[in-house]
């Protein structure tokens, strides 16, 4: 009887120790997720390309790090920017934000652009006149 009790206690202690270890030592290693956002910027009414608009992309991380990249649209309203996020190993989806600005137009923002490593996301912006 004593043997059974002792074995049960030992078993319970082993399980508890395992759980405790897991909760105390989380996996806090990080990895870098890189993505590309590209697309075109158009006038919301005429649907013509908006040339020379400033496009700024921000990539958010799970630690105190964020990426920033920017460019200006070409004669077709085309832009391309890079983003990256530092994430814990268990997570694979990064989050980014895109801001487009141009004189004479209202600022345009898109939050929560989700991407995975090496994704190429297409985001089309329609700017409204001020």
């Amino acid at each position: 009887m004593k043997k059974i009790v002792a074995l049960s206690l030992l078993f319970a202690l082993t399980i508890c120790h395992g759980c405790h270890k897991k909760s105390v030592e989380p996996d806090n290693r990080l990895h870098l997720i890189e993505g590309t956002i590209r697309g075109n910027v158009y006038d919301a009414i005429s649907k013509r390309p908006v040339v020379d608009a400033r496009v700024e992309a921000t990539g958010f991380s799970e630690v105190d790090h964020w990426s920033s990249d920017s460019c200006y649209t070409d004669s077709n309203g085309f832009y391309i920017v890079q983003v990256n996020s530092l994430l814990y190993l268990k997570n694979t989806t990064g989050s980014a934000m895109l801001e487009v600005s141009k004189d004479g137009y209202l600022p345009w923002t898109s939050h929560g652009i989700l991407y995975q490593d090496q994704d190429i996301k297409e985001v089309i912006a329609f700017l409204e006149k001020q």
Binding site: Y42, A44, S46, K47, R48, E122, I124, F126
Partner: protein, 128 residues
């Protein structure tokens, strides 16, 4: 007596859950999409310049979105559509119409889209 309380309690719970569902079913959310592409002449396969493209977004409610544009020198067009849908639904539906003098009216319906989708539609217009 205890049984009676239990029956009353169960009835209240059932009624509450039903009413909750009824409220949720009437809630609407907006689903936005983009339709783009190029318009071509069906015989020559050349781009059709300055054709009017009209896009309508249909909803679960009375709301209907409207957007339009003219094709450019490459026959390119781009329009936005929005559907207001009940929470349980996430697929919007749109209709596309293309008008150009000398050509038959072209219609595309239904065009299904989910939130932030970019749908490519390439219409070929037939001469009248």
């Amino acid at each position: 007596m205890k049984k009676l309380y239990l029956v009353i309690l169960l009835s209240v719970l059932v009624l509450y859950s039903c009413s909750d569902k009824a409220v949720n079913n009437t809630q609407l959310h907006a689903v936005h999409g983009i339709i783009r592409g190029n318009v071509y002449d069906s015989a020559t396969k050349h781009p059709v310049f300055n054709a009017k493209v009209v896009a309508l977004g249909f909803s679960d409610s009375k709301y209907q979105s409207f957007d339009s544009c003219m094709t450019d020198s490459n026959g390119f067009y781009i329009v936005q559509v929005t559907s207001l849908l009940y929470i349980k639904n996430n697929t919007g539906h749109a209709g596309l119409e293309i008008y150009k003098d000398g050509y038959k009216i072209w219609t595309g319906n239904p065009i299904y889209f989910q939130d932030q989708d970019i749908i490519e539609v390439i219409p070929f217009l037939d001469k009248q």
